[in-house]
């Protein structure tokens, strides 16, 4: 009997590892090894014909800290995250409340909100190019009606990043709406009835009952939005290429440029490591804080 249980246990272990092997091989090749290799190569100097690569310790990092462009890019990305996250969450919430209410055009409204989500960012950027092109673009045409001068939205440092931010919000708000919609549908009807009987206004009901119940969803969306603020950079390639004078450059774009335009992979690696550390902190917060809260719900 005992030997039978042992046999079964051994059989499960063998099967378990066999089934995991293909996924583990690919994960090792494309996630774990590259992370370690990135850390390793961030500690070496660039390999040029004149000077072979050598160990430099933290020099690549200190180079970056001394590089004003790096700080500008960090600042841009913080602004990008600081604006896109709250604004797209707020819009997503409004969208979800509307798309969930009993209004006549609900089907149209839902589709309209969600459609940008299924477009490639590259296509979205092409569409928005129409709005931003100086002189010819829609924004300038509208401004022209009111006698405003033409503005080169993408071509001047003061507005370029904002133009990028607007496209991002447009693209991701509808996506986040979906999560709110799902959460709203789990709120029982009787809460609304009870609030009505108590004479609570709609605003009070929303603020005191709906919003607290949506808290776990909001936190989940926040993590997603934060990740997006690192990786959603495709539109930069179409709209500004990080310019003018780096005013709209974001970290991932800078990494790409460093590695594939300037062929300086050690510095790109050092930046990658910093991004991974930030993402790691976010992950830790999610695992230890958010998951716990969602549990209590």
């Amino acid at each position: 009997m005992n030997s039978h249980v042992n046999l079964e246990r051994r059989r499960q272990a063998i099967y378990g590892w066999l089934l995991l092997t293909p996924a583990m091989i690919l994960l090792s090749i494309f996630a774990f090894y590259p992370s370690i290799a990135t850390l390793w190569s961030s500690l070496f100097s660039r390999n040029t014909r004149r000077r072979p690569s050598e160990y430099v310790g933290g020099e690549n990092y200190s180079d970056l800290f001394a590089d004003p462009t790096f700080w500008l890019v960090v600042k841009n990305n913080l602004l990008y995250a600081g604006v896109t996250i709250p604004v797209s969450i707020a819009i997503a919430l409004a969208m979800a409340l509307w798309a969930n209410s009993k209004i006549s055009a609900r089907g149209f409204v839902r589709t309209a909100y969600f459609t940008p989500t299924v477009l490639p960012m590259i296509a979205a950027a092409n569409l928005w190019l129409f709005f931003y092109t100086p002189g010819l673009g829609v924004l300038d045409q509208i401004g022209g009606l009111f006698g405003l001068p033409t503005v080169n939205w993408l071509g001047q440092p003061e507005t370029a990043l904002w133009a990028i931010i607007i496209v991002t919000i447009w693209k991701e708000a509808g996506f986040f709406m979906i999560f709110y919609l799902a959460a709203l549908q789990t709120i029982p009807e009787d809460l609304k009835e009870a609030a009505d009987i108590e004479g609570a206004s709609r605003w009070t009901y929303t603020r005191r009952i709906v919003l607290p119940l949506l808290m776990p969803t909001t936190l989940f969306i926040m993590v997603n939005a934060l990740i997006n603020s690192v990786k959603l950079i495709d539109h930069l390639f179409i709209l500004t290429k990080g310019g003018p004078s780096d005013a709209s450059k974001l970290i991932l774009y800078y990494i790409w440029e460093m590695a594939f335009a300037f062929f300086d992979s050690p510095h790109a690696a050092a930046m990658t490591i910093m991004v991974l550390v930030v993402l790691g902190v976010v992950a830790a917060i999610q695992f230890f804080y958010i998951d716990k809260r969602t549990h209590y719900q």
Partner: protein, 266 residues
């Protein structure tokens, strides 16, 4: 009364939200000068589509994108099914540790590791191949997680019944678990296809020829300002490249939204 304000607000926001799309549709069917001057009653034309179609190997790009999303999806289905099943239903030493490793990958975005992944793909001789574009995404931690959840909810009685019938472990997986997880597969497929149809940065890095380049990369090259293509033609090209996915979305809207929900909530 408040209902009317709500309707007004909701519809206004909806119109703002789709206006870039609608405008692009309108512009794609009109000559450039009419489009930029907003001559609303100007004649409709298909010239932009002809020019755009002739300007790049779109058909090849479509095929490439199609092959790419199919390759990724097949790879993901196989790998995540096997791994998800192991995590959900088997007990073996080291399981929890490996599961934490897999979860870590949720935050090691493939987008961030472009430099080393590029080196890896080149080393494997997969540079400028569709397999090379798809491979880093196949062992998706997200998919493994999703499949694990789906398989966990399958009642153990079905498993036992199949075993008594003389089914081997893989037979049980194939005959019992996979059919029961169909909705999850559908949801995952929709999310995966739309993600990879739209992916740009990684394909930009690992492709180098029209024979492998997906639509997004083709579109970005076609629309690059240095190519001097005019705005209506870009609009037509954009239209063409998003049409299949957009059409699919409008037709299967409900399933699409459900899919994203299912995938997002985990």
């Amino acid at each position: 009364m408040s209902n009317r304000i709500d309707t007004f607000g909701a519809v206004l926001l909806a119109i703002i939200w789709v206006s870039p799309l609608l405008f692009a549709v309108w512009a794609a069917f009109h000559s450039t000068s009419d489009a930029v001057n907003f001559t609303l009653l100007s004649p409709w034309t298909l010239d932009n589509f002809r020019t755009a179609w002739a300007g790049a190997p779109w058909f090849q790009y479509f095929i490439n994108t199609f092959l790419l999303v199919t390759t990724v999806l097949i790879g993901q289905f196989v790998l995540t099914t096997l791994a998800g099943f192991a995590f959900a239903k088997l007990e073996f030493p080291g399981k929890d540790f490996v599961f934490i490793l897999v979860l870590m990958q949720l935050f090691i975005l493939p987008e961030v590791l472009i430099v080393e992944n590029y080196a890896m793909v080149s080393r494997l001789g997969l540079f400028d191949t569709i397999l090379g574009v798809g491979m880093p995404y196949m062992a998706s931690a997200f998919g493994i997680f999703l499949m694990r959840q789906a398989f966990k909810s399958v009642p153990i009685e079905l498993h036992e019944a199949a075993r008594i019938e003389g089914c081997g472990l893989l037979g049980i997986l194939w005959r019992v678990y996979v059919p029961l997880a169909k909705p999850t597969y559908l949801a995952y497929a929709l999310v995966s296809v739309s993600t990879h149809w739209n992916n740009f940065l990684w394909p930009l890095i690992v492709t180098n020829s029209p024979d492998t380049r997906p639509l997004t990369v083709g579109l970005s090259i076609f629309g690059a300002p240095e190519n001097g293509v005019d705005i209506s033609v870009i609009s037509a090209a954009t239209r063409m490249s998003v049409a299949p996915l957009l059409l699919a979305f409008l037709l299967f809207q409900r399933q699409f939204v459900q899919a994203f929900l299912r995938a997002g909530i985990k």
